[in-house]
Amino acid sequence: MSFPLVAEGLSKHFTLHLQGGVHIPVLRDVTLRVARGECVALAGPSGAGKSTLMRCLYGNYSTGSGRILVTHAGGSIDLALADARALRAVRRETMGYVSQFLRVIPRVSAAEIVAEPMIAGGRSREAAETRAIALLHRLNLPATLHGLPPATFSGGEQQRVNLARGFGPDYPVLLLDEPTASLDAANRAVVVSLITEAKARGAAIVGIFHDTEVRDQVADRLFDVTPIQDAA
């Protein structure tokens, strides 16, 4: 299948019941096809819905209408219709998501956070831990931090743990939301090489890059997410 990720006619709105039921449309009829080895950069002004689109693709947000087709386990699955178990299976084996925020769990070390998705996906604990450490080193996270829970890390340090976690499992589909935020030039370069390697092995990537320099190095094309013009 040459398009591991296809969104068709995707619409998303929010209904804020606590604010009197105000209806906020964010996405309307979005269609996006991402090919193997392709990196698509979502472009558009702040608040246009780029993050929202990404969260819809991941199943983190529900969608009003449309399909999200992912090549998974030898077939194609529509995430808009998938139940929780199916979605978990897709996230475990096929689709990774690097958000802007690292969810910190008390008492769990950085290395464990990175290793966890690889273990869940079937890698042995030993192999997962080895690769986790290697990735953290590559992202220039000092060894002294590997065994510590990231609660007290700086934003940039947390971001690097997040990235290692996302790039560990070699997902066929990767969603990256501001992957280089809070990173210095050296680490931005590491992220670029990680993305380039992922593309080379055939991953379909969707990214949000505020850093246009990074974007230009990795993105094969831009996809405009335009804000919906409200009637009033």
Binding site: L16, H17, L18, R55, N60, Y61, A84, R85, P106, V108
Partner: protein, 252 residues
């Protein structure tokens, strides 16, 4: 496509005019953690008690591994509760023998399922105490003398020692200090992953649900108003009540 480990349909329960359960349906698959969240009076505890056979509903069906839980009689349910199931009570006093040593508490389930070698029972108890981060040297102390967090961890050890497939937890962190809660939640998280347990956990603590659960059911006045994969329900709540619950959580 595998079958659910536990499956309930059309559960109805009323206490006089109060609706505790209104046509509730729920499934849980092997290795899955499902959280039932809601406020007091939502019916979440009633649901847990009905699913675990501790209370009979007015109508409805509960199947465990294909067996009819409600129809199997108390002897059958007790047998399940001793072997395949576990129940962690909110108050550890309800799930422990307070005057019996920690080792005896853990060993009881082993002995009930036929363990006859004192040394082995003691060894298993020591292992489990270490796993729940209680110093094995305290094996002969009764839980009367333990802190609340330790009592709760002992209850967990006692429940898990016979490798149940399905564990019911009723507000396991209720009443514990925050740092103690964190330790307990982390312990539960690791054990669930290591042992491949299915867990049905009732909690009013949304953060605990987010940490532990794969799926969340939101209950209000006996009705399941929303359910789905945890991050979706908590990040993109659809039902007005869910939105209210999520918005009410204070962030540190």
């Amino acid at each position: 496509m595998s079958l659910p480990l536990l499956s309930a349909r059309d559960l109805d329960l009323r206490f006089g005019r109060v609706v505790a359960l209104d046509r509730v349906a729920v499934d849980i698959w092997p290795g899955e953690v499902v959280a039932i969240v809601g406020e007091s009076g939502s019916g979440k505890t009633s649901l847990l008690r009905v699913l675990s056979g501790l209370m009979l509903p007015d109508s409805g069906r509960v199947l465990y591994d294909g067996q009819d839980v409600l129809g199997m009689g108390e002897a059958g349910r007790r047998r399940l509760m001793r072997t395949d199931w576990g129940f962690v009570h909110q108050n550890p006093r309800d799930g422990l023998r307070m005057a019996v040593s920690a080792g005896g508490n853990i060993g009881e389930r082993l002995m009930a399922t036929g363990a006859r070698h004192y040394g082995n029972i003691r060894g298993a108890a020591a292992d489990w105490l270490a796993r729940v981060e209680i110093d094995p040297a305290r094996m002969d102390d009764p839980p009367r003398n333990f802190s609340g967090g330790m009592q709760q961890r002992l209850q967990i050890a006692r429940t898990l020692v016979t490798h149940p497939r399905l564990v019911f937890m009723d507000e396991p962190t209720g009443g514990l200090d925050v740092s103690v809660q964190a330790k307990l939640l982390d312990l539960i998280r690791r054990l669930v992953a290591d042992l491949g347990l299915a867990v049905m956990i009732v909690t009013h603590d949304i953060a605990a649900a987010r940490l532990l659960a794969h799926r969340v059911l939101v209950m209000r006045e006996g009705v399941v108003v929303e359910e789905g994969i945890t991050d979706r329900v908590l990040d993109d709540p659809q039902h007005p009540y869910t939105q209210l619950l999520v918005a009410s959580v204070l962030a540190a």
